[in-house]
């Protein structure tokens, strides 16, 4: 099960967890603060009303019964307070008796205010409560009369402090900002490592990672650099071996080619020469693979459309039977900046591969949709009508010396370097090449080249 809003990046996930935690802690803090304020407000209110009620009671009790109404009229009760004398305990059709929990609180506070022993009320009744925004307290005088006081209760104001809220908000924003900054900083080495691994995949000679920062990061960087060095050593050994073999094979191949010219039998001579061509092509591929794709060859402007047509011309000249199944589609001219020999080798390899396995090669040059835009890519598609490639091998065919199913190798020759070389060269240009199968059957190589 996956959450819809669960982000994919480590930084976002960490930040999300921390921010949700922060919000929860802050919410709890706010709730505690609000409850505290409510309690305080209530207590202050109860105390205040209690003092005044007790004061009224004492005044009334000290007054002679016949003067009580007049004195009560003279007294200043305080805002909202209303006091009346009655023969009966307070009754209000809208106010029920206060629940026992609340009554206890009020009684405790009234008793707490208290009064010297000769004075004490003989009975008490409390109606209403915070829910009704007012309270009625009835106190029975010694002679059976009741003093009934009605007091308003202020509505609760847990947030009645703008400075507190502003400070709270500021605190939250600052904490969130710090969290985001810290998370970005802490996850940056992971991104650097990923970028370095990516760069190493493209080029074994990519510069090493800086081995600094926190201990764990430095250790990971050092381990990565060691691994990169081992891979580099391995690749170097292999390419040096290949290059040495390729160099040494040139002299005997040259001799054999010369010898072949002295074979009288035309048919035999043709066959020997064809074998030697194939052998030379393999050596040449091996050498091309051994050489770094970033050779000293300079980058120059060239007409890639004309290059593709020339490659097709040469393919057709070598294999006249295939000519009807070769084709070019696209603009007649298109200039790119590239290494001319390298690019020609890469594209020739792709066309040869199509002809070798698909007995056909239809090339399509697709210029980028918007010229000059950053990252604009030129696409070159090479389609054939062959059996296609098993889906599991679409990437494997770019591995050096991978040659598909063993049975067809003797027929088609090659050392399995054509596609790896093409990919090396195109990647060194900032492009790439991938293989796919067409819905209509056959394979399609898609090469890209930055413009």
């Amino acid at each position: 099960m996956t959450f819809r809003f669960w982000p994919r990046s480590l930084a976002a996930r960490t930040a999300l967890v921390l921010l949700v935690g922060l919000i929860m802690v802050q919410a709890a803090g706010l709730a505690i603060h609000a409850m505290d304020r409510i309690d305080l407000q209530r207590l202050a209110e109860v105390r205040n009303i209690s003092f005044r009620v007790v004061g009224l009671y004492r005044t009334v009790e000290l007054t002679k019964p016949e003067d009580r109404s007049a004195v009560l009229g003279e007294l200043h009760h305080g805002p909202g307070l209303r006091a009346v004398l009655s023969d009966a305990p307070p009754v209000d059709q809208f106010l029920p008796e206060m629940p026992p929990e609340g009554q206890r609180f009020w009684r405790i506070n009234l008793n707490l205010v208290g009064m010297p022993p000769p004075f004490h009320w003989r009975g008490m009744q409390i109606l209403g409560g915070p829910l009704w925004h007012r309270i009625v307290i009835g106190l029975r005088l010694p002679d059976g009369e009741w003093l009934n006081v009605t007091a308003p209760l202020e509505p609760l104001r847990p947030w009645h402090s703008p400075t507190f809220l502003a400070a709270f908000l500021l605190m939250t924003v600052v904490a969130a900002g710090l969290t985001l900054w810290a998370v970005r900083r802490l996850t940056a080495p992971v991104r650097t490592l990923a970028a370095a691994a990516e760069a190493l995949g493209r080029d074994v000679n990519a510069p090493p990672l800086p081995e600094d920062g926190p201990l764990e990061v430095a250790t990971a960087a050092a381990a990565f650099n060691t691994m990169a060095a081992r891979i580099r050593r391995f690749v170097q050994d292999r390419t040096e071996l290949l290059t040495a073999i390729g160099h040494d094979l040139r002299t005997p191949i040259t001799r054999l080619k010369l010898r072949a010219e002295f074979i009288e039998d035309d048919e035999q001579r043709g066959k020997v020469l064809a074998d030697l061509e194939e052998l030379e092509a393999m050596v040449s591929a091996t050498l091309a693979f051994g050489r770094d794709a970033r050779t000293s060859e300079p980058v120059e402007a060239l007409d890639v459309a004309e290059l593709l047509r020339t490659i097709l011309d040469e393919t057709g000249d070598a294999l006249p039977d295939v000519v009807p199944r070769l084709g070019y589609e696209g603009p007649p001219h298109w200039t790119v900046r590239a290494r001319p020999l390298g690019l020609k080798r890469a594209l020739t390899n792709l066309v040869s591969n199509a002809v070798k396995y698909g007995d056909s090669a239809r090339v399509r040059l697709v210029p980028p949709a918007s010229v000059g835009a950053a990252g604009a890519m030129l696409t070159i598609e090479i389609e054939d009508d062959g059996p296609g490639i098993p889906p599991g091998e679409l990437e494997q065919v770019f591995e050096p010396f991978h040659r598909g199913e063993p049975s067809r190798n003797r027929e088609t020759g090659g050392v399995g370097l054509g596609l790896p070389i093409a990919r090396n060269i195109l990647r060194a240009h900032g492009g790439d090449v991938v293989l796919g199968n067409r819905a209509a059957g056959g394979a399609k190589a898609t090469a890209t080249l930055p413009v």
Binding site: H247, R250, T254, S284
Partner: protein, 247 residues
Amino acid sequence: MLALFSRSMDQPPHIMVVDDDREIRDLLARFLEKHRMRVTAVRDARDARRAWANGHYQLIVLDLMLPGESGLDFARWLRGQSDVPIVMLTAMGEETDRIIGLELGADDYVPKPFNPRELLARVRAVLRRAGDSVGQRHDGTARPLRFAGWTLEPARRRLLNPDGAEVALTGGEYDLLLALVERANRVLTRDMLLDLLRGRQAGPFDRAIDVAISRLRRKLEDDGRNAQLIKTVRGGGYVLAATVEHA
């Protein structure tokens, strides 16, 4: 071809082959002799100097990698002595060597392992150019040739379009275009052009010429039916109609 090789008909051209591999040296000598050339084969620069002092040569086939003094050094020395054409045998695909070789005044290069027929075609093409333009040959070989906005760079065997972008040419197309450009406004017969493509392309040579010319016209953006640059001459021949400047 008759016009081009009138001299070689009387007297086969004398070629010096310099290569340190004995077998290649001997086989190459036999191969060239089979194709009506006189060959003196030597193993290193020292022997080559001695042979140079004692003979008269129309062309030198020189391996770049020689024991002792390198082929490049020998070529430099030779250029100080003479304008004799040099065809270099270079390591396969090593671009820097070939550029240096051509800048030093080699007339052509053939990467090893070479196809003997390809080498023969190049030797013949170089002999033809040398025989055709004695005296003025060396003021122009390595320098770019400009015509109708296009630039042909012999030093790097490549064609640049008016925008300066390289336009791919096959070896045969390059030789054909160079022959046309070097003799702009002069008719080249089909026989002359055929000689350039011999050994390079499969199939009937007659068709090869027409195909190569039509591809050149396409590359030079010269409308095939109404060609203005490479014109067809009635009676079998082609002419490049343009003013050529040595840049």
